[in-house]
């Protein structure tokens, strides 16, 4: 850059400090929010892929029958064309254990491995150490919880001698090759006639992108061993699908925020640079008069925008990386596999796109500056203003309001383009705020909908409870106490207002392969009914209420019938309602316990009479049922899930950033306006306009835009929420109940409209203060 241009750029950047700062800060915020959004998008979009790549995950996890195939043949299979690496042989079996409280665990796939490493499926040992001797067990992190932590024990009653295993480590296998690991020697000892030892081999393939490629590889492996020796093969694509489902709902949400952020930065940068050109016409004219070429003027004005923008981009990348760290940590907690660092290409791509956007936004007004004729440019700076907006002054002047107010209301009409830019900034800010408020409320509603149990004050179990709250479905399987006696204890207590019984049972459903889970209710369960999406709750036997995915998988609708079998009892149940329940892959059905009497209730959920303290009640009932083998506990609302916390944190952060950018857009426009009107304000002051009247004038000049922006932005935010939430729901295979979708209240919407005004007023507050403080004599000299 030649010296005269650099001097012009330096003076331009220095003289217009507010605009320079606004460009830098707006770009910084936009870049930071883009980095955060993209980093999270990348992290939650492919947590499985990241972990799978890091661990050299197995594309195929294959079980062989050791009685039918020898080690040499299996070694040879590992060298087949298309196999790039293999791991094994690992002896495997399945067990069902009892935890320290004597409750049965779900069936666990156990593998015998002497170390977590290897060519394939290099396990992440997340805590503790690897199993080194018999009696030690490493558990998959997905099973970790209050019942199973380091030091917990697990007894295997079906194995010879009922050995007890101690949990010495928690490990993560992206490929989910097993649920737990022991030493190979220990594994053989745990196998039984019902659960014999099989041999596991893990394969990485050079072509594993599609189901067909994996099926072909499976066929090649099957052909390499004797017929029937290959017992089964698990594809990593199935595991990936299940893993990605947790992250899926965040994608539409992040895309919405990303689009808002991008639109906002384009508007702000375009409006700032256009404003800089618009208010520098005389300067441009003088530059040309002293010999600057149009090209040099374009370069000078482009540089004036790009220098602060570049600073904003650098700061934005740094800020974005800093802000992303805690959110990525949350994401890692939620998915167990995300990387704690922002993807490197995000740190390159976002700045590049930002620079391009800023460059284009600045180029248009810079070209306009270059095209301006010298005489015209100088004349524009001196001539009286054109008649734009005079009608507004006439119209608003008639209103029975203080003059400072009516004057301020008319100001935006003198610069329609600038007013529209300001309006768009407020609209996008309000859309963001409305969307974020709705999203946060929806997340709260989802938490509440998934925690209906805590609506009951006390849970009374016929088996011992473990930990706070109620046991996880399927985990509490011992039923030490007679449910009838436990029920009698609940009925006998004077504090009981109402109660219902509940049990979990494994069932099979025609149309759904494998087992499904059923929640069975006894008594008036309406108070604890999950959120209904459509239809009605159970009113008696012969009915079933099911989640959305259940309907999809069975191809049924409300009013249809399904055949459900539990321990040999088969019933045909009529679907009376669709409910919001994403647990058990969205296939858990809810029915009356009278249909399946073999599954007695294991818990009674009690609503108390007014004035009865839950803790006191639980203590009283526990005193009766504990000797029977039961337990009673006061319920507490369950904590919000990790995903909800991540989404709420992201929504809050991104909203604050985007609303700040909107405020900066307003600030910039008002600074430009105030600068242009400094003479008018000086005249008004010389005529006796007080500082407070000046502040009122400037604030009123944006209040109308704020109100209009709010009126436009709130319905748009509402619409965005109405669109994104169902998409998020569908990504996890469920419709959403009205309590999750219809979260806005009328007063809240009115407040959000007021948020538009607040964004505008906050943005205008600083320049209003400057305008009020500028001495009248100085302002008049600005002529």
């Amino acid at each position: 850059m030649s010296s005269p241009i650099s001097r012009v750029v330096r003076s331009g950047v220095g003289r217009r400090r507010v605009q320079t700062v606004v460009i830098a800060v707006a770009v910084m915020m936009a870049v930071a929010s883009a980095v955060v959004a993209w980093a999270l998008l990348v992290a939650v979009n492919a947590p499985f892929d990241h972990a799978f790549a890091r661990q050299h995950g197995a594309h195929l996890t294959v079980q062989f029958d050791p009685d039918q195939v020898g080690a040499e043949q299996l070694d040879a299979a590992g060298k087949l064309a298309g196999v790039t690496a293999s791991g094994g042989p690992y002896p495997t079996t399945t067990i069902r254990g009892l935890d320290q409280e004597g409750r049965r665990t779900p069936t666990l796939t156990l593998a015998g491995r002497s170390s977590p490493g290897g060519e394939v499926d290099r396990l992440d040992l997340q805590s503790g150490r690897w199993a080194e001797q018999p009696g030690e067990l490493v558990l998959a992190t997905s099973f970790a919880g209050p019942a199973f932590e380091l030091g917990s024990t697990l007894r295997v009653p079906d194995a010879a001698g009922s050995p007890t295993l101690t949990v010495v480590g928690l490990a993560l296998s992206a490929s989910r090759t097993a649920d737990a690991w022991v030493t190979p020697g220990q594994l053989t000892a745990l196998a039984s006639a019902d659960h014999p030892v099989t041999t596991q081999w893990l394969y990485r393939l050079d072509a594993a992108g599609t189901k067909e490629q994996l099926a072909a590889a499976r066929e090649r492996l099957a052909a390499a061993v004797p017929p029937g020796a290959l017992l089964g093969a698990q594809s990593y694509l199935d595991t990936k699908r299940a893993a990605d489902q947790g992250a899926a709902p965040t994608i539409p949400f992040l895309v919405a925020f990303g689009a808002l952020g991008l639109a906002m930065s384009v508007i702000i940068v375009g409006s700032v640079v256009s404003g800089a050109v618009g208010t520098s016409l005389r300067r441009i004219g003088i530059l040309k008069a002293v010999g600057f070429t149009p090209g040099e003027v374009v370069r000078a004005y482009l540089a004036q925008a790009l220098i602060p923008a570049a600073a904003g981009i650098v700061l934005g990348v740094l800020l974005g990386n800093l802000l992303a760290l805690p959110l990525l940590a949350d994401t890692e907690q939620a998915y167990g596999a995300a990387s704690l660092a922002v993807a490197w290409w995000v740190d390159l791509l976002v700045p590049a796109v930002a620079l391009l956007v800023v460059g284009i936004a600045a180029l248009v007004p810079a070209l306009r500056a270059g095209r301006l004729r010298t005489v015209e440019a100088i004349a524009v700076g001196r001539a009286p203003r054109t008649g734009r907006g005079q009608w507004a002054h006439r119209a608003f002047g008639r209103l029975p309001l203080p003059r400072a107010v009516t004057y301020g209301l008319a100001v935006p009409f003198a610069h329609p383009v600038r007013a529209v830019a300001m309006l768009l900034a407020v609209v996008f800010g309000t859309v963001t705020a409305t969307f974020a408020v709705g999203l946060t409320s929806s997340m709260g509603a989802i938490t509440k909908a998934q925690d209906r149990e805590s609506l009951a004050a006390v849970s009374v179990f016929s088996g011992a409870a473990h930990g706070p709250g109620t046991p996880a479905p399927g985990q509490l399987v011992s039923a030490a106490a007679d449910p009838a006696k436990v029920r009698a204890a609940v009925e006998a207590n004077a504090g009981t207002a109402s109660f219902y019984g509940r049990a979990f049972a494994e069932v099979t459903v025609a149309g759904i392969p494998g087992a499904a889970q059923a929640v069975l209710y006894q008594g008036d369960s309406a108070s604890g009914a999950p959120e209904l999406i459509s239809g009605q709750w159970l009113t008696g036997p012969g009915q079933v209420v099911v989640p959305t995915r259940f309907l999809e998988r069975t191809g049924s609708r409300i009013g249809d019938s399904v055949r459900v079998t539990q321990e040999g009892d088969t019933r045909t149940l009529r679907i009376v309602g669709e409910l919001f329940d994403t647990s058990n892959d969205g296939t858990r059905l809810h029915a009356d316990q009278a249909d399946f009497p073999k599954a007695g209730p294991v818990a009674f959920l009690v609503t108390l009479k007014p004035g009865v303290r839950a803790a006191d009640y639980a203590e009283q009932v526990a005193a009766v049922v504990r000797p029977l083998g039961g337990e009673a506990i006061a319920n507490q609302p369950s904590e919000r899930g990790n995903l909800v916390l991540v989404l709420q944190a992201m929504a809050t952060l991104l909203t604050l950033m985007l609303v700040s950018v909107a405020g900066l857009g307003v600030l910039n426009s008002v600074v430009l306006d105030t600068r242009e009107r400094v003479r008018d304000l000086g005249i008004c002051k010389s005529l006796g306009m007080s500082p407070s009247q000046t502040v009122v004038l400037v604030l009123t000049s944006v209040a109308g835009i704020g109100l209009f922006g709010g009126v436009l932005g709130v319905p748009a935010g509402f619409a965005l929420h109405s669109y994104v939430l169902p998409v998020m729901g569908h990504s996890v295979g469920t419709n959403l109940p009205s309590s999750v979708l219809e979260v806005y209240q009328a007063p809240q919407l009115a407040l959000l409209v007021a948020a538009g005004i607040a964004i505008a007023l906050l943005g205008a507050l600083l320049p209003a203060g400057w305008a009020a403080k500028t001495p009248a004599a100085t302002a008049l000299r600005a002529e």
Partner: protein
């Protein structure tokens, strides 16, 4: 004799190290007097006017205008003082381009909270008095310089100020318009209006003023009243 302006030891410095742009200066202006302030460029004429109007603050001395000591007033009180006690006419009119002639004239009255109808009546009277009633709904950009200055004078008088300050009121006008404004100021003075006029134009000073002072380098170089007493 009632003094509308009383300046005692008034000084205004813009640069702490250098000599003051004005003063120290003692000056009084009596009610009904028409004072012309003359002097070369940079002599402190406009600074003096700004101090009297409360648009600027002295760095030394006291300024009392229409019985109010204004050098220590807050910005808010100064604004109230200006709108109620001072009318100002500028060289380049300083009309608001967005407002009609009527709206420009009414503005100071509206800022004081005068009732809409009262302000409109007063503006109508002044437009009629100054011969600009046919331009009532026009915008300043469409008027000649002389007409614009008449609008500015009407605006200055709308709140019946104790003091009318005029800063080079004919400086941007052709000779015919200048003569027009000159006659207007003479008429206003004859009607009892106290006027302080800053001008380079000695003919204007001679025609309008009952007293003339001359500033040179911020100091009072000549006061016609003192000269006359000699």
């Amino acid at each position: 004799m009632n003094h509308v302006i009383e300046l005692t030891g008034v000084a205004r410095s813009y640069d702490g190290a250098g000599p003051p742009a004005l003063g120290p200066l003692d000056l009084t202006v009596a009610e009904g007097e028409a004072l012309a302030v003359t002097g070369p460029s940079g002599s402190g004429k406009s600074t003096l006017l700004n101090l009297v109007a409360g648009l600027d603050r002295p760095t030394g001395g006291t300024v009392t205008v229409a019985g109010t000591r204004i050098d220590g007033l807050s910005e808010h009180a100064l604004a109230r003082f200006r709108r109620e006690r001072i009318g100002m006419v500028f060289q380049f009119f300083n009309l608001l381009d967005d407002l009609t002639v009527t709206d420009n004239i009414q503005l100071p009255a509206q800022l004081t909270g005068t009732a809409r109808r009262t302000a409109a009546t007063r503006a109508g009277e002044l437009m009629e008095l100054l011969g600009i009633e046919r331009h009532a709904r026009a915008y300043p950009g469409r008027l000649s310089g002389g007409e614009r200055q008449r609008v500015a004078v009407a605006r200055a008088l709308v709140n019946r100020p104790a003091l009318l300050l005029a800063d080079e009121p004919t400086g941007a006008l052709d000779s015919a318009s200048g003569q027009d404004v000159r006659e207007l100021l003479v008429d206003l003075h004859r009607s009892g209006q106290t006027v302080v006029l800053v001008t380079h134009d000695l003919a204007l000073a001679e025609a309008c003023a009952t007293r003339t002072i001359r500033l040179v380098d911020g100091q009072l170089a000549l006061d016609s009243r003192t000269e006359a007493l000699r």
